[in-house]
Symmetry: C2
Subunit: 194 residues, 2 copies
DNA sequence: CTGGAAACTTACTCGTGCGTAACATTACGG
DNA sequence: CCGTAATGTTACGCACGAGTAAGTTTCCAG
C-alpha cells in the first residue's frame, strides 16, 4: 500500500497525485487508505520516513569511520548509489518532490542536514589526523559539494537504467577525490579489488 | 509585474501561489494579469524564461573558451554564483520549484542540459588539447558533478545573505579543481588577483 | 439461522482557486 | 456635452479532489 503511494507520488508528484489513484492501485477503496494511513500529507510523510530510513541505514552500514578517508568516501558513495539504483521511485519521492514542497521541506532539510553533518564530521576528523584544521564554513562547503554532486548523479542514474551504481560511484569518486586538475593530467582513481 | 510573480512563486511555490496574491502585489486586478500574461502556467513559464535567459547570458559572458581551463571554470563559477547572489528569488523559481513540477520539468531540463552540454564540450576540448580522449559518459558525469555541486552550494548561498558569491565560487573551485586528496594534503587553489 | 460487529464501498459534501462574464471608469474625438 | 473605445474591476461559474456519511457485504458467535 505504501509501495503504491510511493509509485504514484513519484510518477505524478505530490499535488498531481490523487488519492483515488493510490487507492485503486493498492486494490482498496479510498476510505481504507484514509483509515490506515490518514490524510494525504500524513501518507506522504509516511512514504518519506520509510524511504529516508532505508537510505540512512544503507549509508550508515557502508561508511565505517575507522577506515581511511578514501575508503570511507568510496563505500559511502557506493552505498548511496546502490540505494538509488534499487529504489528509483523512492529517490524520486524523497528528493525531487519533497525538497521543494512547503509542508515537507523542513522534514527533508533535517535529513539532508544530518547527512551533511556526518560528512562534515568525517572530513574534520580526517583533516585533524593530518594535523590540519579548517574553518567550519569550508568544511560545510565541501560536504555540500559532495552531496550536491551525488544528488545530481543520482538523478542521472535514476533516469539511466543501464548504468551500474558502482560505476556511477567510481565516476564521482574520481571527480571529487582527484579533482579536475589531476584528471586532466591523466590520473585515475580505481576502486579497490575486494 | 513579472517581478511580483517571481516573488510570490519563490515564496509560496507554484501550487500554493494564487493568482489573486500576484495580482494584488502587482497592484492590479486579476483579469489584468490574465490579459497581459495569460494563464498561471504561461505566467510561470514567462518567469522561467526570463530568469534562465539572465542566467545563461551571465554564464556565456563569463567563460571565454579561449582561456585556459582553470580560468574558464573559475570565471564560469564566479558568474554563476554572482547571478544567484543577485537574484535569489529567481534562483528559487528556476530550480527549487520548476525542476520537479511536471509541466515545467521539460523546460528546465532542456536548459540544464544545455549548460551540461556546454561544460562537456569545454572539458572535451581541454582534454583533447592534452592529447587525451575520454568516453562521452565520463564527460557527462564530470559535468553533472560540477553542476550538481554548484546547485547545492547555490542553495546554500541563497540562504546565507552574508556569504560572498566570489567566496562560494572559490570554495567550489578548490573542491573540484584540486580534489579531496590534494585538499587533505594542504594544497589550496587561489583566485587570480586581477 | 440470526444478530451484530468488522471490513469495506459507493456516493456524496464542501472548500479552494482558476479563469471569465458582466459591469464600472476613465480618456478622448466629434 | 456625448458616444464609444480603452482600460480597468467586481462577482461569479465551474471543475477538481480531499475527506466523510451512509449504506453494503463478509464473517463469526450463539
Amino acid at each position: 500500500m505504501l509501495d503504491a503511494a510511493v509509485l504514484v507520488f513519484s510518477r505524478r508528484g505530490f499535488h498531481h497525485a490523487n488519492m483515488d489513484e493510490i487507492a485503486e492501485l493498492s486494490g482498496v477503496s479510498k476510505p481504507m487508505v484514509y483509515a490506515y494511513l490518514g490524510t494525504k500529507e500524513e501518507l506522504f510523510i509516511a512514504c518519506l520516513r520509510r524511504e529516508s530510513a532505508r537510505l540512512v541505514s544503507g549509508l550508515a552500514a557502508a561508511a565505517d569511520p575507522t577506515l581511511p578517508p578514501d575508503q570511507q568516501l568510496w563505500r559511502g558513495l557506493k552505498g548511496f548509489f546502490e540505494f538509488v539504483g534499487a529504489h528509483r521511485d523512492g529517490w524520486s519521492v524523497l528528493y525531487r518532490q519533497a525538497r521543494t514542497q512547503q509542508p515537507f521541506s523542513a522534514e527533508i532539510s533535517r535529513m539532508r542536514e544530518a547527512v551533511v553533518e556526518v560528512i562534515t564530521d568525517r572530513l574534520d576528523g580526517a583533516l585533524r589526523q593530518e594535523g590540519r584544521q579548517v574553518k567550519p564554513d569550508d568544511l560545510t562547503a565541501m560536504a555540500l559539494t559532495l552531496v550536491g554532486a551525488s544528488e545530481s548523479l543520482a538523478d542521472w542514474l535514476a533516469d539511466h537504467p543501464d548504468e551500474d551504481p558502482g560505476r556511477t560511484a567510481t565516476r564521482l569518486m574520481n571527480a571529487v577525490w582527484l579533482g579536475a586538475d589531476q584528471l586532466m593530467r591523466g590520473s585515475t582513481w580505481r576502486p579497490p579489488t575486494p
